[in-house]
Amino acid sequence: MTVRGRDAMLSPLQYALRDVKADEAELWVRRRRSAISRYAKNEIHQNAVADETHVQARVVVAKAVGIASANSLDPADLRRLVADATAAARESAANDDWPGLTAPAPMPEAQAYDAETARADARSQADAIKRITAAAKERGFRAAGTHQIELNEDALANTNGAAAYAPGTMAYLRALVTSESGTGWAEDLGWSARSLDPSDVAARAIEKAALDRDRMQLPPGDYEAVFEELAVAEVLRFMSLTGLTGETVKDGRSFMAGKFGEQVTGPRFSLWDDALDGRTLAIPFDVEGTPKQRVTLVEGGVAKGVVYDRQSARWFDTRSTGHAADPRRYSVGGHAGNLTMAGGDAKRDQLIRATRRGLLITRFHYTNTPDPKRAAMTGTTRDGTFLIENGRITRALANVRYTMSALDLFSGIELLGPQRLARDWWSSNGMGSIVCLCPPIKVARATITGSSPI
């Protein structure tokens, strides 16, 4: 994969903005080159690479905003794009709350980029998959999953003189191993392909698949529980979407609304958004060109703050925290997409040993929120749900349906393990943009509301 670089990405934008006939104008571009190998039943069944460029122009005329997007950095195409956005602005109506485009600001360096990862080829992806499928076959199991390498380059320029460029890489490897009776899941995620360990991913998935036999159904009720990192990331997703943005507070939909400074969940729960943490996947500025800031959201269970883009900052007469989101995915109002949850030093075995009777949850599937105001989540578990009795995993369980408020779940945190990079089911499948550094946890109470058949 060839990196185009700062000049190739930024110069066309700056050139196209030279003669704009409008009050303000901005060009933001994201180039994404995604190489993805999907495998099932120990074979690669889809093997694709796509290189795409998305350019968005925002043009402002008398506080009316026009937006146009295309997929070319060719000068003629950019001229047409700016003209389209200008025409849209002229036909639009004024936004009296328009906050203006961002001013130039010092930009943090990109940390989530690795040149070697950007150069990974189809052969290296297939080799990693072969290591997993060979290990699965050795046990008589079959493996499925994904190996993905992604190169992103973001650039932004506006008529205020703001200019920013950053590259980023993402490497992701997941394995779902199926035995005669059950399934097991493991994955690695990072901004470098060096953070992927196919043998370890295979071993972890195989261990769970081997344990997943003779399933029993768990009756609905409240149980102690160990949530592994992927399961915790799933719960955090709903906190982010329902409660951690200026827009949700403005609309009164957030669990934080009217509660700042108050205890909203348990004292062992702290959460912040920090795209500048060197371990996470991030571009250091948002789609408006504002440098991303670390924002404390919840500290010791006390509601502290939310994230803002320029529009929601205007509503609250404050400054953007650098959390404007890709408008193709999220609405105006801010987006908390680099969550870090405070962890601890408890090892996985300790979490299990601390459980008298409860369950271990590896991950969830297709979750949703029946009660956004309480950041409630419902979803079924998959690929590793086990009964824990007297500090030991004793049985495999049929997948269960979990339904509970995140605030109630985190009120019951008893132990925390070390943080790990993880994404919820939606984000790991491209339907969201939330990356979490989060720990596995042991909680006093998780509410199970149903069970799938054995």
Partner: protein
Amino acid sequence: MPYRDSQLADLVDLGARRGASYADARRVEREYEAVSVRDGEVESVTRSGDRGIGFRVLHHGAWGFAATDRTEDMSLRSVVDEAFARAEAAAGTRAAPVALAQVAPQRGEYRTTLLRDPFAVPLADRIALLRSADANLKGPHAVSRRGSVAAYRTRKHLVTSEGTDVRQEIVESGAGLSVTAVKAGAKPAQRYDSRLVRQAGWEFIDHLDLPGRAARYRDDAEAMLDAPLAAERPTTLVFTPEFLALLVHESCGHPTEADRVLEHEIAFAGTTFMWPTDRGTLRYGSEHVSMTADATVPGGMGTFGWDDDGVPAMRTKLIDRGTFVGYLTSRETAAALDLPVAIGSARAEGWQHFPIVRMVNVSLDPGTQRYDALLRGVDDGLLLEAPASYSLDNKRQNFHFSTQSARVIRNGALEGYARGVSFQSLTPAFWGRCDGVADDWELHGFLSCAKGEPLQLMRVGHGAAHARFRDVPIEVRG
């Protein structure tokens, strides 16, 4: 760099010369225009477009795919190299080569039938319509109101090494409305619909009557603020076609996708509970429940001339009077399941995507009784109007839905609202409770059915009529 009409044929020829057993090239050009009004003010006017070429080869028995938005010759040569490199890397993992169900070479054009091009409607008219709808969303407790209209155009040209050469131009029109009402001491109420979309021109937007619809949404949201909690007990539920469209999508459309049977989606979307050995025997629902996949329905969001394998649009039964009988298939999945023909369900969101098995228009077949007759058969029940949260397991066997608004049915008539209603069920158990489907069948459209990696958001259509389900255990949460 301008697009040359012969580029696709050149790519396919090059693929064949380099030894591919099959090659196709697909150029897609998309346009989108939307206007959004929030709280009476224009929030955004958005225009977007993209274009590019995807190239797919079957080489050494494995697929390779590469796509680019740069269409100059050097980039296209690189696309061919990359597609072959990916096929060769995949081939080293395969025990058996990919096979394709046969299809005769296709030639022709397909265009959406429409009365008024939605892109030609003056922006001022669109804004005026949305402001008129916004005024009707405004209730005493409304804190957030949004409305939008959108127009979509897709031009697609597919050329294959087997002689297929087909062009399509598809135009869609859509709208969205939402209102959030908040009142001290009450749970916030939201009423919205983002699935008001059809393969049609602006005449569909006129047909929607957005101002009238907005008034209904406002009334629903305000009423839900003060509504009493429903009683938690097994209840007769009547569903609107809008609600059932989503239930059909999630609990029938997805589990009949053949790639789930082959575990192609096991690590993301999941598998199924409807296996090949179950065809013709699995009791999916009651005798009132029949479901059909049909890519020929006029106006359907899953309607087209040919799928992205070049298979012509067709109609096939999935559920016949309660029994599971058919799958949605691509050429690859049909061959793998030893089915005689692919039913034309290979679809890719854009030029940058590999075609995978997707729904077309998957619908609940209409019944014979009138809606009011269906309602008269309910002494004490609920009408669920529109879905809110929904969550499904990886086999589409266990699901949970909640509702934006529920109307109380007493002695066959609607009276007042109830809140807090959700239900979870196993799929066959739920459809097995259906004891009547009305004859008021209507079509709904979805813009963003999510599947595939990288993610592909697909347009699909679903038809349904009001239907009644007996003794459904419901959950009630305040």
